[in-house]
Point group: C2
Chain length 217, copies 2
């Protein structure tokens, strides 16, 4: 019974549900009610039921939800039952750290290649991968058919790189640059990570904590 368009607010909560259900499962929970879950997650039970009902009926009246079934269903909705081949563009500090830090396989992806234009980085090992020269990108893509890409390159290189990647068949971008991919391309999945904006927001939070705005100033 999946409804046609799911609001962004709901989508953003799904990974968190998935995480919490995983922890519950690890802690031996077999069933959980929306109320119990709401208390653990700091949401309302209503919202949880509304959220789940966007995708189907996963519970049972009088019982609640089966933790592992629900987790499996949400995993399926999130596309975690497949592993999409993914490549990294830009093997500098950030790209390398992301590539080593993230558990791709449990997030629906498989990191199969890394590229950089800096000759000094080419050949560098990132886990089991070694960084390739960017000139090998097209050949690699036609042979290995990656569908997703991580962008850890300078903003100035982003537009051209995205054009190339799209023409190579990339459909999903985990974008650590400020370049707005959707300006020139549609029918792509984009997830932007604006680390700088995030830190700026923290500055705001600290500023208002220390210096609370008064009514009349």
């Amino acid at each position: 019974m999946s409804k046609n368009s799911i609001s962004n607010s709901v989508i953003r909560r799904l990974p968190r549900y998935y995480r919490f259900l995983g922890e519950l499962e690890n802690n031996g929970y077999v069933r959980i009610s929306s109320r119990e879950l709401s208390e653990k997650m700091g949401l309302t039970a209503s919202q949880i039921r509304q959220d789940f009902n966007c995708f189907g009926e996963f519970g049972q009246q009088g019982y609640g939800y089966n933790v592992s079934d629900l987790r499996f269903e949400i995993g399926k909705i999130l596309g975690l039952n497949v592993q999409t081949p993914m490549i990294l563009l830009g093997a500098g500090n950030l790209g390398t750290a992301i590539a080593s830090h993230i558990d791709f396989k449990n997030k629906g992806f498989d990191l199969i290649g890394a590229f950089d234009s800096n000759p000094e980085l080419v050949g560098k090992k990132i886990g089991s991968l070694s960084v390739r020269d960017i000139s090998e990108l097209e050949k690699f893509c036609s042979e290995n058919k990656p569908v997703a890409a991580i962008l850890c390159i300078p903003m100035s290189a982003a537009e051209k790189m995205v054009d190339t990647l799209i023409s190579c068949g990339i459909k999903a971008f985990w974008n650590f640059t400020h370049y707005d991919i959707r300006i020139n391309h549609e029918n792509v999945a984009v997830e932007n990570v604006h680390l700088g904006d995030s830190l700026t927001t923290l500055s705001y939070g600290l500023n208002t904590l220390i210096n609370p705005p008064s009514d009349d100033e």
Copy 2:
């Protein structure tokens, strides 16, 4: 005329306004109307005016906004006119990359120290900093009075670490773990970066792009 409580939606847009205004300034813009800005940013002019009016009257009827004045005002709201001393906890791949990649000074912070419990990492250089042993944390804090911290440590170490940091006077957390800081502490500024959730959301986006949900299934 700052209103008392600004909605989260507004706050999240502020860093982006600040960035765009910076680019406009670099491109020689002196003034801009809410309509022009709305077209560049993909928002409505109404929303832009509403957002700015949460904090004061920064424009002029019949003219628009002075780009550099407006940017300065938003910078002040974001607390970018001061640089809060900040420390890094966890100098692994991710911590190191964040510390080297981010332009702290332009985001309201000054990274003055880095700590790790792994003896192999102690002494490692991150830019001009060298990683200190975690045992030096308290002494360092009492001497240097950092107010903000970046958490790039394992989830399992987070609760204890946050308790310590709070007792050392830390008031703002840039949190790359999944530990929920606000459960045990109030009156702290927290900005969570859930990279794993972000990638999971990308998986959802790709999944629904490739496999659009139909009305009746």
